[in-house]
């Protein structure tokens, strides 16, 4: 496992340093995107981030985009990992998206790692994918950043801690955590259909948590 290192993130505006909370999530699978993989979607609270909402809206009209991606830890909380997206096109903005394992965001991270993609959508608390599936969203390609080993350790630690907190002995919590991780991975890797199959509807029903 790589030793964590400090990284400087250049911001365009002080508002960008505030993490953009996930207020809703789901996943989308289409034949045309990601070879039929289930790509996770996060609805971000952009009430204080009009620049990010505008970026997502702009992308409907200007398809050329560019983004630099990194996984970062901003505090000592072992259960939160943040995805930092530094967009340079079609407009410049930075989004720090925190994934909190205590809020069942582990499946989202697993899906991101499995599908190598993430949809982001602007919104506010209460918004759900099913309420407005045609709302503008942007798919971000998340390359392999050698994050797998760190994530494995983080997820395992979280699962063991959770089982232990529920009264399980360490001897039982470790295999239970491994079972949980295998199940999570299987769910994340699921493909409703492959690129070769031609469903009558191009998209699977959106999943929501």
């Amino acid at each position: 496992m790589k030793k964590p290192r400090l990284q400087t993130i250049t911001l365009n505006h002080p508002r960008e340093r505030v993490p953009v909370a996930i207020v809703g999530d789901g996943s989308i699978a289409t034949v045309g995107v990601g070879e039929g993989r289930m790509v996770p979607l996060v609805i971000l609270d952009t009430r204080e981030r009009q620049d990010l909402a505008e970026f997502i809206r702009l992308h409907q009209f200007i398809t050329a985009g560019d983004v630099a991606v990194s996984w970062n830890k901003f505090d000592r909380n072992p259960d939160v990992i943040s995805l930092v997206l530094r967009f340079s096109k079609p407009s410049e903005t930075v989004a720090i998206i925190p994934f909190d394992l205590r809020k069942s965001h582990a499946i989202l991270v697993e899906q991101i790692l499995a599908s190598r993609g993430l949809y982001i959508q602007a919104g506010e608390p209460g918004d759900r994918l099913r309420n407005d599936p045609n709302r503008p969203k942007v798919i971000v390609e998340i390359p392999d950043l050698d994050f797998g080993a760190d994530w494995e350790k983080m997820l395992k630690g979280y699962a063991v801690r959770t089982y232990r907190a529920k009264g399980m002995s360490r001897a039982k919590a470790v295999p239970a955590a491994a079972q949980f991780m295998a199940l999570l991975r299987a769910m994340a890797a699921a493909r409703p259909f492959s690129a070769s199959s031609a469903p009558t509807s191009p998209a699977s029903p959106p999943r929501e948590e």
């Binding site: 009009q50 505008e54 200007i62 079609p90």
Partner: protein, 185 residues
């Protein structure tokens, strides 16, 4: 008086005698003096050579000067506005270069957030357009038009504060020309 002359002559003779008897030290001192003079001269030559090399290096650094000659906007069908910028590019460098990317930056505000939308150049070229990639030789100059088509949905009613054409060369350097007010022909 003669006694004094004799004394002076004696002194000179004594000095010459001393010089002859210590000729090695004298020769070494003379050689050191010559070396010092040569070294000072060489230092001056080196400095001049360094200055020249630095000036040559400066001239080799990629430097492109864009000049905005004219700009205009016109409405097209299908709720599209075309922004056109007549640009002359001059290479101020002794190194060949090329322009690989052209973008129109539209600066506007959404609520209190400043946004810069980056519009790529229209891929459908007409005669007189700057067609990218555009080779720009050493000390060369080129002229042409950069056209950008912007759907009304992009601005969504927002008022543009600044138009800027940003040209990126093969060295990754961005060159920018700005316009505040665009007229309709």
């Amino acid at each position: 008086m003669s006694g004094n002359n004799l004394t002076t002559s004696d002194a000179i003779a004594a000095t010459l005698g001393a010089l002859v008897s210590h000729w090695t030290e004298v020769a070494a001192a003379a050689a050191a003096l010559v070396a010092l003079v040569l070294s000072a001269k060489s230092n001056g030559t080196s400095r001049a050579a360094l200055r020249l090399a630095q000036q040559q290096e400066q001239r080799r650094r990629p430097a492109v000067a864009p000049y905005l000659r004219a700009h205009r906007q016109e409405r097209l069908p299908d709720a599209v506005t075309q922004y056109s910028f007549d640009i002359t590019l001059g290479s101020q460098s002794d190194t060949d270069n090329a322009i690989v990317e052209a973008e129109l930056h539209l600066n506007y505000r959404v609520d209190d957030a400043a946004v810069t939308a980056k519009i790529p150049q229209d891929p459908d070229h007409v005669t007189g357009d700057l067609v990218l990639p555009l080779k720009l030789g050493a000390r060369d100059a080129m002229s042409g038009c950069c056209r950008f088509k912007v759907n009304d949905g992009v601005l969504n009613g927002a008022m543009v504060d600044l138009f800027a054409v940003v040209l990126v060369d093969t060295f990754g350097k961005a060159h920018r020309v700005e316009a505040q007010i665009l007229r309709t022909p």
